[in-house]
């Protein structure tokens, strides 16, 4: 019988502290009655109130939401198709195109899309952001869907065909319901990735449109103000809700995607 040594839980606990302390500090300072992020002065909701009247921030939040909704919807459809195709057929090009944007540093996708849109003569803005977000979210959805399919008993689809279902019917009645948790988890993941994306948006946004991360970047870069703490805390709350929904649906899909 091995003794459970204490150092492993201790080391693990310290790493969790390292992971969470910074985020908790941001949340704490969002309620701090001081313009400086250095010392606890007193409780206030002032920064959340300021946020409600911050026109540029609200505009950016609206943009982010719209972009994330459209990008996650389209990338879920295309990503599910790609995941299914990669699982079912022996393909060479598609898996490469699906995995490459995930594998290489984001900045490369960002600058190449910038070149592409400018050379096409497109005005950078909402449309270019959405098109770019779809391109990188698609792969994540595809991976989640494919891993869900790979975990499925292949003979289920065959059984459906064997019992009289056409290929389409077998997909709709058997395959799709079974991979649905994966599809939904993929959609939530795409939504979160899109609403959080900074690097690719940074290059494809131009001056036409701003998103929440871009807005936060500008604020952080110029002068740190407590409104950033407030919007950060709200965003964390939003992702927390999304992640909990997703983990209820498909814990394994989340794990494979991250």
């Amino acid at each position: 019988m091995r003794k459970n040594s204490l150092w492993l839980p201790l080391a693990g606990f310290l790493v969790y502290v390292f992971l969470y302390a910074p985020l908790l500090i941001v949340v704490a300072f969002s309620f701090n009655d001081s313009r400086l992020n250095s010392q606890w002065v007193g409780f206030t909701l002032e920064w959340y109130r300021v946020l409600l009247h911050h026109e540029a921030m609200l505009q950016a939040a609206g943009n982010s939401l719209l972009i994330a909704l459209v990008a996650s919807a389209v990338s879920t459809v295309l990503g599910t198709m790609a995941g299914f195709a990669m699982y079912r057929f022996r393909l060479r090009v598609l898996p490469l195109l699906v995995l490459a944007p995930i594998a290489i540093p984001e900045i490369l996708t960002g600058v190449s899309l910038l070149l592409f849109f400018v050379l096409l003569g497109m005005t950078l803005g909402m449309v270019s952001i959405i098109l770019s977000h779809i391109a990188f979210c698609l792969g994540f959805v595809a991976i989640v869907v494919r891993s869900r399919l790979a975990g499925m008993d292949e003979s289920l689809t065959e059984a459906a065909r064997d019992l009289g279902a056409t290929p389409w019917c077998a997909f709709r009645r058997v395959t799709l319901p079974l991979i649905m948790p994966g599809v939904v988890a993929g959609a939530l993941m795409a939504f979160t990735l899109s609403i959080d994306d900074f690097v690719i948006t940074f290059f494809t946004a131009g001056v036409g449109a701003s998103t929440l991360p871009l807005q936060i970047y500008t604020m952080v870069k110029t002068s740190v103000t407590p409104e950033v703490n407030a919007i950060s805390s709200l965003l964390m709350l939003l992702t927390l809700v999304l992640i909990l929904v997703a983990s209820k649906l498909s814990p394994s899909a989340l794990r494979s995607g991250a």
């Binding site: 003979s155 065959e158 059984a159 065909r161 019992l163 279902a165 056409t166 290929p167 319901p177 079974l178």
Partner: protein
């Protein structure tokens, strides 16, 4: 006309010839077994009949009609999968109703037939359960009920009992036999378990390396294996190396290595081929070998040796006898005599004997 006819079917995966020019014909109402070790091509053959795979050569005829190009859903054939492939998101009733729904059977009629099917496999009252809430045996029954509910012409079963424990397996075998008699549907059953094949089927095709080695009734397959592979694969068999000493229409004399000259049954129609000097093996079932302290009755082939080891199996005991030449022979003796659980000890000197008609001489 045969219900299912397989004519010279081959299937190749890259360099690997999974099914090699197989021809079979299966009659309506038959319980037919495809038996062979894993990788022998039996499952590939089954999948081609179901329509999940297409032959590279040859033809598959169902009811006299070539089924090439007909997708699985259009074939009047259903499969019971090894994993059962019960849809996990549907209840037992929804699973069984699936083929009826696909065929456009109305809700009321469908409900009635599902109930009948459930009663038929004694699962009445389970209709609302999900597959994950069933035991292994129950899942197996649902899979069979689902595949039989719309009365296909042919039912394919791919090792359906492989996942069950020994006791349950035996009970399900009896159930399958009864069920097949009741519904009268042709069963094609794939298994690697020779006992299961012998117990279940009317006829068995023994496959090896993509080819059919022998196709026969269970008793003939066991009693007169056509070659070394079949003799060895079905049951246990002593394979005694040797050569033909003399061969005529009435008698075959063999010279076995380490044993000497013995008499055997002549091989019908092979007198010209099995001339003196041709080598082969004498296949001799352990239960046909007698061992005794006294010399065996006249008419037996005889030799002597020492008991090397024995395996006590309850109903029978298997003795391994080492002959004076070092060749080992297995003999199986029933323990039916009261109080006589064991006849011999290791090291005992014994006489070994068998009747000339007990063995078969095989050259392949």
């Amino acid at each position: 006309m045969a219900l299912l006819e397989i004519r010279g079917v081959s299937r190749r995966f890259g360099d690997f010839l999974a099914v090699d020019d197989v021809s079979l014909s299966i009659e309506a109402g038959e319980f037919f077994c495809l038996l062979g070790p894993s990788g022998c091509g039996k499952t590939t053959l089954l999948r081609m009949v179901a329509g999940f795979d297409a032959p590279d050569g040859g033809a598959i005829l169902l009811d006299g009609r070539d089924v090439a190009g007909i997708p699985p859903e259009k074939r009047d054939v259903h499969t019971v999968f090894q994993s059962y492939a019960l849809f996990p998101h549907m209840t037992v009733a929804q699973n069984i109703a699936f083929p009826l729904t696909m065929a456009g059977v109305g809700a009321e009629a469908s409900r009635r037939r599902v109930e009948e099917a459930l009663d038929g496999v004694s699962l009445g009252g389970m209709s609302g359960r999900y597959p994950s809430e069933l035991s292994g045996g129950q899942r197996q029954r649902v899979a069979v009920a689902r595949a039989l509910v719309d009365r296909p012409k042919l039912l394919l079963l791919d090792e359906p009992l492989a996942a069950l424990d020994a006791k349950l397996k035996e009970r399900m075998q009896l159930e399958l036999i009864t069920l097949q008699k009741e519904v009268g549907i042709t069963f094609v059953y794939v298994t690697h378990d020779q006992q299961e094949a012998l117990a279940l089927s009317h006829r068995i095709a023994v496959m090896n390396r993509g080819r059919v080695e022998q196709m026969d009734e269970p008793s003939r397959l066991y009693g007169s294996p056509r070659n070394r592979f079949v003799a060895d694969f079905i049951g246990t068999c002593n394979l005694l190396e040797g050569e033909v000493a003399a061969h005529s229409r009435d008698a075959l004399e063999l010279r076995l290595d380490g044993i000497g000259t013995v008499r055997s049954s002549p091989v019908e129609g092979q007198v010209e081929r099995l001339v003196p000097g041709v080598r082969g093996v004498l296949a001799l079932r352990p239960e046909k070998v007698a061992i005794s302290r006294e010399a065996p009755l006249p008419g037996h082939n005889r030799t002597t040796g020492k008991v090397f080891d024995f395996l006590y199996l309850g109903d029978v005991t298997i003795y391994v006898v080492e002959l004076d030449s070092g060749v080992r022979v297995e003999a199986m003796l029933p323990n039916s005599a009261p109080g006589r659980a064991k006849f011999f000890e290791a090291g005992d000197s014994v006489h070994v004997g068998w009747l000339p008609e007990a063995g078969v001489f095989l050259t392949d």
